[in-house]
């Protein structure tokens, strides 16, 4: 909060009252470097923010290297940049502004980014962004980067205004700044050049799949928490591992990912920030505070019990069965139910710890189907919960399903596979909603997982959606002490506000103060496992290309439910699962399944 030059150095006072004296101070305060310099009486420069908005596409459109135009006066212009975890980064824009805290994005600029990037790579015009975000460059009023002593005292060294090259050039800039300061001070400084970071050689067990849409394993997340620059926040984890960065934008995996991050750092999920201080996405539900015994907020979420539901645990290895059903939501439950009724042995793989999807939205018949499957252990049906199917391969008429679980990898050889992987609610990042990215905006998928882990989200919420899913979301919010202040059937939200935490939304022409926005309206299909077979491209929201009878383009491969028809309702999913299961059973019985 203050900098004062003294004879042999500077006195620095911090906001907590602590005072430091230093012979040399480096001002590397980014957007605020001018304000820090002004504390010492140096008004020789000003720093202005220049916003760059980006879009992220999961589809790479054949681009395997950076494509950029000839640079202009404002910089390099729009680029098409492959992301290290797959997909493309499109942008950035260059928008001069005054507000140093405004990192908001807007749909109109997103359209201009697509236009600009498709001038470089025409196919990009078809991109569907899974995310937009903005960063702020630091632009110096002097027109050039500042790596020099302050105009007031050389005890203060300015390193500022380096714009977008600052990140990649920072090690060299640091070398130069320290060398110059050492010369001024007469320091004898042994050189410790910054070398290449040694590669991570420790190989951990892969473990179970945490991030479903990107197949990121527990081992990868743990490695990101223990690396040379360990991830300390959810955003840090995302940038290091690629988890939370796929189609669902973390709404399916944030709770489990946060549990691992918390366990790695010996803290609690509700103490974790998404990025900056104050961006904590979760807090303990009131009922859990002060609860005796091991806290469900530490380490694995409460739903993590292995082999829950009474199903036997399985080790890594190879299994042979007649049919594999991937997913035990409504459609998968229906398919398994019909196979069981026909006496066809089948193995059901479910990523989550329980079957049947969201229990709060079951009707009587759905409840009966789930109960029937749960009691099916002696009927040739086996259900493996917390095992995730990650791959499919076909060789000489036999399908191999690769499943990943905590014990390792399971290879299942089978004659037929039913894909019933369901869907996910369209996250905010896919929608045309302007504004910044504060914590507190989530889908009903994340709300369900958070509340099941004993977490609460906020205190005043707006809910978007109708039907059983939205009703269940409202029930979950109320149960954790969060008041629903408004509900909208369709997503009429066109703007949000908030720095680190949501403070309000604009919907229907009015602003609604709230700290939580729950999206529970539009489902997108999640047939990601088919991407590896080349049956789908990488764009989000593309359904499994099954025919009306559930058949996919390859013999013995079927798909049903939300992953095929995202608008299907719960009951429709169960019924269509039963129809596909019965049809498949008949083909197997009659020997009509073509190899």
């Amino acid at each position: 909060v203050s900098l004062r030059a003294e004879t042999h150095g500077l006195r620095v006072r911090l906001d907590d009252g602590l005072e430091l004296r230093a012979a040399q101070v480096f001002d590397c305060a980014g957007l605020w470097a001018d304000e820090v310099a002004r504390m010492a009486g140096d008004a020789s420069f000003a720093i202005a923010p220049r916003k760059g908005q980006f879009l992220v596409s999961e589809e790479a459109f054949g681009v395997d290297r950076i494509v950029l135009p000839i640079p202009g006066p404002l910089g390099k212009g729009m680029l098409v940049t492959p992301i290290v975890f797959g997909g493309l980064l499109l942008g950035p824009t260059a928008e001069d502004q005054e507000d140093k805290g405004d990192r908001s994005t807007d749909p109109a600029t997103g359209g201009r980014i697509l236009e600009g990037c498709s001038a470089l790579v025409p196919a990009v015009a078809a991109a569907r962004a899974v995310r937009s975000f903005a960063g702020l460059r630091t632009v110096s009023s002097t027109g050039v980067p500042l790596v020099r002593p302050s105009s007031v005292t050389d005890r203060l060294f300015i390193v500022a205004g380096v714009r977008s090259t600052g990140l990649s050039a920072s090690p060299a800039i640091a070398e130069q700044a320290v060398a110059e300061a050492a010369r001024l001070r007469g320091w004898q400084r042994p050189r410790h050049p910054i070398g290449a970071i040694p590669p991570e050689r420790v190989e951990r067990p892969t473990g179970r799949i945490v991030c479903l849409c990107r197949s990121v394993s527990q081992g990868e997340v743990e490695a990101a928490c223990r690396g040379i620059l360990p991830a300390l926040s959810l955003d840090g984890l995302k940038r290091r591992s690629g988890a939370l960065f796929g189609d669902c934008q973390g709404n399916l995996c944030a709770v489990e990912t946060a549990a691992i991050l918390a366990a790695e750092h010996g803290t609690s999920i509700d103490e974790l920030g998404r990025s900056r201080p104050g961006s904590t996405p979760f807090r303990a539900a009131p009922a859990l505070r002060g609860r005796p015994g091991p806290s469900p907020l530490r380490g694995e979420p409460s739903s993590a019990a292995e082999g829950s539901g009474g199903w036997p645990s399985v080790d890594a290895g190879t299994i042979v069965t007649e049919v594999v059903v991937v997913g035990a939501g409504r459609a998968g439950t229906g398919a398994a139910d019909a196979l069981m009724a026909s006496g066809v042995p089948a193995l059901v793989l479910e990523h989550r710890a329980r079957i049947g999807g969201d229990a709060l939205t079951w009707d009587a018949e759905e409840r009966a189907a789930v109960a029937s499957l749960t009691d099916a252990r002696s009927s040739g049906i086996a259900v493996l919960t917390r095992w995730t199917a990650v791959g499919l391969a076909r060789d000489e008429g036999v399908w191999t399903v690769l499943a990943q679980g905590a014990p390792g990898t399971l290879e299942i050889r089978t004659r037929a596979v039913v894909i019933a992987t369901g869907g996910y609610v369209m996250p905010r990042e896919h929608r045309a909603i302007a504004g910044p990215r504060p914590a507190g905006i989530l889908t009903s998928d994340l709300l369900e997982r958070a509340t099941e882990a004993g977490l609460a989200i906020g205190s005043e919420a707006v809910v978007v959606g109708r039907g059983r899913t939205a009703e269940a979301a409202c029930g979950r919010l109320e149960a954790t002490g969060c008041r629903v202040v408004a509900r909208f059937d369709e997503c009429a939200v066109d703007e949000v506000r908030g720095a680190t935490r949501l403070s309000g939304i604009r919907a229907g022409g009015a602003w609604w103060p709230c700290d939580t926005l729950v999206l529970a309206d539009r489902l997108l299909p999640a047939p990601w496992i088919l991407r590896g077979l080349g049956l789908l491209d990488m764009r989000p929201g593309v359904a499994a290309p099954a025919g009306p009878d559930g058949r996919l383009g390859l013999p013995g491969l079927w798909a049903v439910g939300t992953c095929v028809e995202p608008d299907i309702d719960h009951r429709g999913s169960l019924d269509s699962g039963r129809r596909v299961g019965a049809r498949l059973a008949a083909e197997l019985r009659e020997g009509r399944l073509t190899a």
């Binding site: 790479a60 290290v84 040694p198 391969a393 690769l402």
Partner: protein
């Protein structure tokens, strides 16, 4: 010194069901066809020329098993692999089938690589090849462009290694020094 003539379609069959054609190309390697074939059939020599090969040995069933590492973007992916030569017509053509599981990453890959060797005179051989690939799990999320780029670099490094091996066997230096595009695995 290998060179890269225009791509051909010597291996013109479509990719098998469930696989995608990743790459189809030709290159000319400084070496006799028979000598190249001898390297292909020698696990110890193959281990020396395969880029990122950390182990390779003949398995009891006749296949090769080992550990390969490759740079995928900024990640180094190590995989346990098995490989087998099929439809061999020595020393003219064969099909290399490779299956692997990356370590740490969930998923698998399978590559089918039909190739042909044609003498081009002056001790040179043209290698026509195609790579059909099926990937699952984490590898599938990287997308084909990244995998294609990696495979191109691996092939370039493989050709360089092959030329070094053949030159060493002949007791001469390679015709020209070359730097593989991939600087190697750290």
């Amino acid at each position: 010194m290998s060179e890269r003539p225009p791509s051909g379609d010597t291996t013109g069959l479509p990719a098998p069901a469930g696989m995608k054609e990743l790459l189809r190309d030709r290159l000319v390697v400084a070496g006799e066809r028979e000598d190249i074939w001898a390297v292909i059939e020698d696990p110890e020599a193959l281990a020396r020329v395969l880029p990122g090969c950390e182990a390779l040995a003949r398995l009891p069933d006749g296949r090769l098993g080992g550990v390969l590492a490759a740079r995928l973007g900024f990640l180094t992916v190590r995989a346990d692999v098995t490989a087998a030569l099929g439809d061999a017509d020595p020393p003219r053509a064969a099909r290399l089938d490779i299956e692997g599981r990356p370590r740490l990453l969930a998923g698998s890959f399978r590559a089918v690589i039909p190739f042909e060797l044609e003498p081009r005179g002056e001790g040179r051989t043209e290698v026509s090849y195609r790579v059909d690939l099926a990937v699952s799990g984490r590898l599938a999320t990287f997308g084909l462009p990244f995998l294609r780029d990696t495979m191109r670099r691996q092939v370039t490094s493989l050709a360089a290694g092959l030329e070094r091996e053949l030159a060493a066997r002949a007791g001469v230096a390679p015709s020209a020094p070359r730097s593989p595009v991939d600087p190697g695995i750290p």
